[in-house]
Symmetry: C2
Subunit: 260 residues, 2 copies
């Protein structure tokens, strides 16, 4: 049987520890091609590069595995992988990460890791974003290796529904063993921002975006609960943003506005 | 009665024709504060600036209306407006645009215009992104002025459901009058990318992202259909990306994976 073709990307950049592990795990499963940002792209959301040029350079950092570093965003990486690097070959799986840091709850919107996965889903490929809830660049990934392997194989085997990508988050390494997998919804939580005002050597004001994650969600069926309770969280994510339940409600107010 | 407080942003930058018109229309409705990017931020999706600093400068380009230009993304603009510029005052409405170009269908994901609106919704404020399906920097907005006014007043009057922002797109100016408003879903369409490979004066390769919008959606209940048929499209958008219908399906496969 032919080996499945697996496209690997991330948002921490091609030299991050997380993508090294992901490439290693995926190499045991299939034929791997890596197209990842040439530097950190955290927080890039679903940005794409349209007003500027892109660079793409082949690199041998994964010894024998075809790999390219791209100057663009994670979404750019998946686009250029599909339409330029791989030409007519369609990956059987797109994986992104393993992110150094949580992409649970509302962070999925800001996440470059998940934008690569969602871009894969838009292109009709099964896709998974993996994140470890530990921001350290030297984070310990040892407890999640077998889960990453199993989840990737399961998705290759069973596929995913059209229009859906998986957002997989792992608890940080704790003393206790991981309890298993919870498929769940995105928690209703948000970042409470603060802007740290400073002045540069010329006396001109600048800011750092800072803030705290605030979770008011009391449910036990969401990704924040899963992580807090030492489960792997799996949230199926869609790129149809339509709030379908609202369409009818709003139409009743607005369909008669016709003569402006 | 106190005038409503309206925050205005966009992604084409604070000097674009579209935001000038939006500020003008909103000034007839309420008290306006503008925080918008200091340059073009199209295609920035829901990017935020976390690895770099932000600048924020007051400007008098809207004569008497408090306005700030920010070096960050549209989402950054809304965050810094809420948490720094306006401090404890919460806007009654956030409006973004009027974008020069379509944000229908899948473009909502890449749209900086809509990321400002969705950021408003995340912060619990009624929010609307307005886009004109005409990419020209000198686009003719004359046919949409009354609709923008009416839609903003309606949202101020009736509010929006929690977790929902409106994605409003207008057809380009045609000979025929606009037919009215259609509240609808995001069309199932996508961009078919191409990468235009070129070489710089040093012989080094670079790329431009290009491509065509391809619409295979045959429905008449979506935003592409509305625009093609000279209706204003209104899509209620949510930032809960969970594909709720998939949660149960997936759990049946995965809940028993516990001993890795």
């Amino acid at each position: 049987m032919e080996k499945p073709l697996i496209l690997v990307s991330n948002d921490d950049g091609i030299t991050a520890k997380g993508i090294r592990l992901l490439v290693e795990i995926m190499s045991n499963i299939g034929e791997v091609v890596v197209v990842a940002p040439d530097g950190p792209q955290s927080g890039m959301g679903h940005a794409i590069t349209i007003g500027n040029t892109l660079r793409l350079e082949e690199t041998d950092i994964f010894k024998g595995i075809p790999a390219y570093e791209c100057s663009g965003t994670p979404a750019d990486c998946v686009k250029i992988a599909k339409h330029f690097v791989l030409k007519d070959r369609k990956p059987d799986l797109v994986v992104s990460g393993i992110n150094h840091g949580s992409n649970t709850s509302i962070s999925v919107l800001y996440s470059g890791t998940m934008s690569a996965a969602i871009e894969g889903a838009i292109e009709g490929m099964p896709a998974i974003g993996f994140s470890l809830c530990d921001y350290s660049s030297d984070a310990d990934f040892s407890h999640i290796r077998d889960y990453v392997d199993r989840i990737a194989r399961m998705v290759l085997d069973k596929g995913l529904s059209k229009g859906v990508a998986l957002n997989v988050n792992f608890p940080p390494k704790r003393n206790e063993k991981l309890k298993g997998i919870k498929v769940c919804r995105q928690a209703r939580a948000k970042w409470q921002e603060e802007f740290d005002q400073r002045f540069d050597p010329n006396g001109r004001r600048y800011f750092w975006l800072a803030g705290n994650f605030v979770n008011h969600d009391q449910g036990e069926d969401n990704d924040e609960w899963a992580i807090a309770n030492n489960y792997v969280s799996v949230v199926p994510c869609q790129f149809d943003l339509t709030a379908h339940h609202e369409v009818v409600n709003l139409n009743s107010d607005w369909e008669n506005i016709v003569d402006l």
